[in-house]
Amino acid sequence: MMSLCPSYAIRLIGLLSVVVCASVAPAQTLLNASSKGNMFGPSNSAGPLGPSARTVQAPLGGRSEILGGSVRTLPNLSLQQDWAPPVNDQENHLFTLFDVLEYRPNTSGGEHTSDYRWDIEGWYGGDYNRLWFKSEGQRDTAFKADYDVDFQLLYGRFLRKYYDLQIGPRLETQTFRGRNVTRGFAAIGIEGIVPYDYTMEATLFIDQNGAVSGRLTLTKDLLLTQRLILQGRFETNVAIQRVEEFTTGSGLNNLEFGMRLRYEIRREFAPYVGFSLDRSFGETATLVRQEGGNPSQIRFVAGVRMWF
């Protein structure tokens, strides 16, 4: 687990700005690799018959004398440069998951309107190197008073059997007192499966002014039947500095705990219903109240979880 220790994190800023730029390069490598074709497709494209073609006509006996005397070459002992590999185990894939894509009806009858929330992530790449993209967005939760959208583009490296180390830029935009505000971050995080089979996403953010924050998400699926699945979801945000412009106090910002019951019509498509308990704390709660928001909410949700 990476350390969330602030002083350590601040020292990382310099490093991050370098790595963030560097992360574009692996992404490009991935894209180039894709042009090799997919595993079953015509990736074994007809290469020009090089000088190596002669070995195809090797005699039946199995052994042949080439170059005379001491050097004996066996029929196909040397790898032919123009041959495609026997298996295509470096194939890239594209995965996009809408883990949360939901509508939150207004049930309390107050001045609140019905809201929405999404949490999307995905990757393009192979087993070890991936380009990740993530977006979270919400409107009127206990944490952010109005609306809040963020987007991340991360380079991920598969490590320690279960985890992706992710690093890259993040952009956040909010409406604050009627006007749009936007800030950029460097993000470094770990995503993977922790013991007891929880999916974990832990990310540390440092914004353009040096303000440090972090987010932890844990989810777990409980199978009621093969297709009826209850997903537990826990998310929390913390920050070191108060960034009032972004409705963020210092310390624990919020906790979100949800249960979503989905039915997998197909693996890729599962409508769900559920509820979400959202609560903000401390300075953040005060800021939300000042915004006219509600720092403690229970919301019913209905949406669809899907991927492709």
Binding site: G47, A53, P75, P86, D127, F158, K161, Y162, L223, T225
Partner: protein, 620 residues
Amino acid sequence: MQSKKKAQDKTGLISRRVLLKRAGTLGLLAAIQPLFPACASHRLPPMIPGTQPSTLSGEVIDLVISETPFTLGGRTATAMTINGTIPGPLIRLKEDQELTLRVTNRLAEVTSIHWHGILLPPVMDGVPGVSFGGIQPGATFTYRFPIKQSGTYWYHSHSGGQEMRGMYAPMILDPLEPEPFHYDRDYIVMLSDWTFESPESVFANLKKLPGYYNFQQRTAGEFFSNIANWGVWATLRNYLMWDQMRMDPTDFADVTGYTFTYLMNGLSPGANWTGLFRPGEKIRLRFINAASMTFYDLRIPGLTMTVVQADGQNIQPVAVEELRMGVAETYDVIVEPTGDRPYTIFAETLDRSGYARGTLAPRPGMSAEIPERRPRPLRTMEDMGMKMDHIDMGTDMPGMGSSDEKPSSKLSANTPSMEQMQHEPHKDRMPGMGDQSRSKIPGAEAVKHGPEDHGTGNQTVAEYSQNRFGKPGRGLENSPWRVLLYTDLKSLVPYPDQREPEREIELHVTGNMGDRYMWSFDGKKYSDAPEPIRFRYGERLRVTFVNDTMMEHPLHLHGMWMHLENGTGPYLPRKHTVIVKPAERVSVAISADAPGRWAFHCHLLFHMEAGMFRVIKVSD
């Protein structure tokens, strides 16, 4: 031009499959018999024409690879076929003959044919990227090799997912010497699996969600029924242990009956492939597992199968009621149906998500009862490679047992392991007791895994690995009947090379199923370890496979035999494909008598494509 070709293919296909099915339904078999003069029955004229693939013989054989419509259960897909059918034509040859095969590629992509289990020059082996460059679209590749062996084999594409799309077919090599067993007729029973999804999309699904096709995972319902059977604490401990390890104890097949239709000789269970017999005859069944991803447990209720060949090699006959077939294995059995009644050939998949089925019947149109499906098994401590003080003890620790919930094997909370053990029918079948021809099985004692964890490409290691040839494998451990064991396989005659292996190579079978579908040897997929494994020409060596994963893998070596070190002394059987169970340690002796570059891989198609593949280089 092209459409004309397609039309011809289609006609050809309909004549084989659809006509057969319709004819069978309508009882018109006698009427169409003259259309199919060349069928595969060995000694008697065929009684159901067309129920065996068309046969090609002689010194020069032409094969055409093309896209062909294939209809199954009312749906039509575009298959990739050899000479227009699934399975492709039977190639029936004589030992010691010369053979020229001209393979023409009418696909839009590179193809290949690999002659599975055949000893031949390395350039004729048909593995693109290892033995040759593949057969380019429009090209004809000429294979030439002498036939130096006999038995039941098969051939298939070695390019990408083409095998899954229908490119497989049987091959019979008739021996020069008379067979050491008698039979009145023989049938090929070729098992395979078919999906209407493309191999690319199946593979992509597995890469994104390794459990995509598993609809037999543990649910809340099973949890409560486990509590009722095992008790609260044993159940909780078991569930928490698997969750703690981030493993799924129900993972027995990556691709399941959710998408597969399981085929017998190209026919679905409903279409009921039928082989006819006269009561009292001895029938030789040549079982070939040509599936891309499916292990089969095969039985014929009411008949005892006498296994006479394994992977085309004569063995000392052994009578069993059931046998497990790893992908690419072949078994020849002899059955003697005496009753004037039909018998079901039942090939249940290892994960129990489906079955292939056919019938042996005295008359067309008959069918016998289809046996009750068994519950899917559950992985145990043994599969994890956990230390067991006593070999048989602990196999079924409380809550680790099979999902078999019959009252007789019900676990009580107090003495579960003892109770379970009493119902272990294979416990007293430890082979080798008092048998003089027995030798020591390498790995018979549990071996502790070294400190190497094989890196990020590998999820778990078997802390202790041990040979389990004497056990039938997960899902068959509580069978009330006799199941074929690898210790039962004894060569009919000793093979000439009886040298003790002079050196040993240990190869770990590895993978990561955490949330990515990765398969490898020693933690490295092929592209990360393209350097060949070296065998010295002429040496006798031992290769030991240690399975660190929690799945069974059928490992296939090209070009040379693997002599299974199963404790049978001079009678070690030789195989081209060997099943290695989870946490098992398996040793094979190899006489490195075939110079060249050879493929070695897991024969589960997607394990191979994910990188569980190596090149073996035999040289001085």
